[in-house]
Symmetry: C2
Subunit: 429 residues, 2 copies
């Protein structure tokens, strides 16, 4: 009995804390929405300065997390991601200054027109309000997300991974001081100061205080958030990206693009996972592609038709087609042509990123029109599917739901528009 | 036991049916997304022609609903909304032809730019995919919603109120025949052929097949849908709209705007519910406003300060401030000035529509900037907060969540954009 009542008490405490943070975030968002660009940029620069000035203190807190991770036996790559090295701290400060240099989307009038009755109607960009950002281990994400939310005029509540709690709280302290120094409400950026996962559930229920949830992490985290949220969630589950080598493709280009898409950074969501090859080019293309890819250590998992051209390789099984390997593994399938490629993509893609390599005008157009993914490329690497590379300036995430912002999301995608109407006494007849 | 097993069987059947409809809608959406404007317009015109040609058959089915409503003792206004009179049928056909005449948002390239590496990056408008539309009694909504979804290239699954089931199925039959005649997939517009509410729950779980849910109806329906959906929901719960009469207002204009906002159509979401008056104008304005409003049968519910100017009226209670009366009732509050008006609006508004009547430049600007509602007006009636009146051409609903489309939604708001990238062999370094 004592334990149950204790548990209940803890739960109430977590709930109260999260609700209180969300209320303060809501108030801060009202102030932040009205700040001019200069005020927001000053705050971003001050955060950058303080991160540099207090690197030692941040790293001391970070070391607590790193030691706990070592004690808990986390993998070397996990510990690497957790570690705030001098280089990472410098890139965090640089990232803040880069965001300060980006154009401010807030206040842009995206259109204005006059109605027959003389009403002048416009749409003006405004911040979304309060964003809940839920993520896993990397503490540098704390600063990246805070910078983008701040610049777009949104308050943000950050819930990082429990293994980064000391690092995140140290960064939150520094951000809060910088905000205060800049004359902005410190509640504009808040880190939830607990590792209790119940805090996530409490956040996801606050649809009257939080406008948007962005989860970033593994598929498990993202599914949990999506299934438990009453607040709109922008996210992608995974990136099962395809390159289709058309019968008209320049094969040198096709090898280069397939190689870059798969090998340049295999552990990310815009890396290539399945290579589709038109039958007419399979004999010429596959051995050359295999030589390049296998030279970089890529394991090929081949359909029967591909195996004919690449004897001795591993046979693909059904579960390879929808797989996001995030590793040096590539599924390879020979298709009769564009139609079969489109069918395969419609069936297995995650609506993230697909590319065609072709020299045929009509098939390039057909691929662009008919692939239902947020980024569709002709004759370019899938690795360009990224907010920065596409020219958005920065990226807070990639959304594969059709709502609000399909695809990589930058500062503009952290805003919405409201209607403003200038009248001179009009009434409706 | 027999009953339980029967119930389980029914549930499985409803689920199977809804999943099957959603799958066919998804397939139809792929075809519809690629149709040119002419093909979609032809289908809209054919639906209009058939509605006119088969008016008798539609009205015979409608009569079954009307008679059932009479037997069930529904109110006269409910029966009126349910009835497909000659006039309503003519306006449905006219509405279809109006939608055919609107510009097609699909295929618009909303921007295109070239990256330093020569990649040409653009954003092109595409349909959302499959829309689930859940509504209450009026069967004409079936046709309105189908028209807007069709024109914007979206398949739609319609779940109307049980009291309109015969009317809706008759209309669905006609729409399906017209789609077939136009060479479009009939599954592009489907009406769920059951009055079983379980069908709604089944729909709301299909986040892999349905892209967007739009509920239209009372607050109870909308809360139910929001709380049970895994699919993004665009909606507003209610419209608690304010007019603030500033100390600089032209009082003739202020009376005219308050009167029009409240009286012209009191039962709709953009009707005025609370009138705020700057103290400096309260003596001069309130008696004149009361004369006009009370002359039209409006009951005033006044704050103590307003009661001083309008003795003998009803005193407002706390629950009047957040109330959507949808009736000839108006809450009236005297405020010290703009700041108190903004505070009141921030606290009680539903983020729908607010207007200021003023001749002061700075206060007009401050009101536009600081009111966090999807439509903010200066010197115009709140009744203009409507997709058609604002110039969107038509309206599928009004969304007071910040995501995707804040405010009245027309055809453009039923689309999203994807990134298209034209390369010449670029790879990432």
């Amino acid at each position: 009995m004592r334990r149950t009542s204790r548990e209940r008490k803890d739960k109430v405490t977590v709930k109260d804390m999260v609700v209180d943070m969300a209320r303060r975030a809501r108030e801060a968002s009202r102030v932040l929405a009205l700040q001019d660009t200069g005020a927001k940029n000053r705050a971003l620069d001050l955060i950058a300065d303080r991160i540099e000035a207090e690197a030692g203190r941040i790293q001391a807190e970070n070391m607590k997390d790193v030691e706990a991770a070592r004690t808990a036996g986390l993998s070397a790559s996990m510990i690497d991601r957790l570690t705030l090295s001098d280089k990472i701290l410098a890139s965090m400060a640089g990232g803040l200054r880069d965001v300060a240099a980006l154009p401010d989307p807030v206040g842009e009038v995206t259109g204005m027109w006059t109605r027959p009755n003389g009403l002048q109607v416009g749409r003006v960009r405004i911040p979304l309000g309060v964003i809940g950002f839920i993520y896993e281990s990397r503490p540098n994400v704390t600063v990246d997300a805070a910078a983008l939310c701040l610049k777009s005029g949104n308050a943000v509540i950050l819930k990082g991974g429990s293994e980064a709690i000391h690092s995140n709280l140290a960064l939150a302290g520094i951000i809060g001081q910088a905000l205060e120094q800049a004359g902005l409400p410190p509640a504009a950026v808040q880190v939830i100061p607990t590792t209790d996962r119940a805090a996530v559930n409490e956040m996801l229920a606050l649809d009257d205080l939080i406008d948007l949830i962005i989860p970033r992490g593994g598929e498990g985290l993202i599914r949990f958030v999506t299934e438990n949220s009453r607040i709109p969630v922008l996210k992608h589950y995974k990136g099962v990206c395809h390159v289709y080598v058309d019968q008209s493709a320049d094969l040198d280009m096709a090898v280069r693009i397939a190689f870059n898409s798969k090998v340049q950074r295999p552990g990310v969501c815009n890396a290539l996972e399945t290579l589709l090859v038109a039958e007419a080019e399979a004999d010429a293309f596959l051995p050359r592609a295999a030589e390049a890819l296998e030279g970089a250590g890529v394991e090929l998992r081949c359909c029967p038709e591909a195996l004919l051209r690449l004897p001795g390789r591993k046979a693909a099984v059904e579960s390879d087609w929808p797989a996001e390997f995030l590793d040096l593994i590539l599924a390879v399938k020979v298709v009769s042509g564009l139609e079969e490629a489109l069918d395969h993509i419609a069936r297995y893609s995650s609506q993230h990123t697909e590319a065609i390599v072709t020299s045929d005008y009509e098939r390039a157009r057909a691929f662009l029109a008919r692939v239902d993914s947020c980024v569709v490329l002709v004759n370019a690497s899938t690795r360009f599917s990224d907010g920065g590379e596409l020219g958005l300036g920065a990226e807070i995430g990639i959304n594969t739901s059709k709502l609000h912002a399909f695809g990589p999301m930058g500062l503009v995608e952290l805003t919405t528009t409201k209607f403003i109407v200038f009248g001179s006494g009009q009434i409706r007849g």
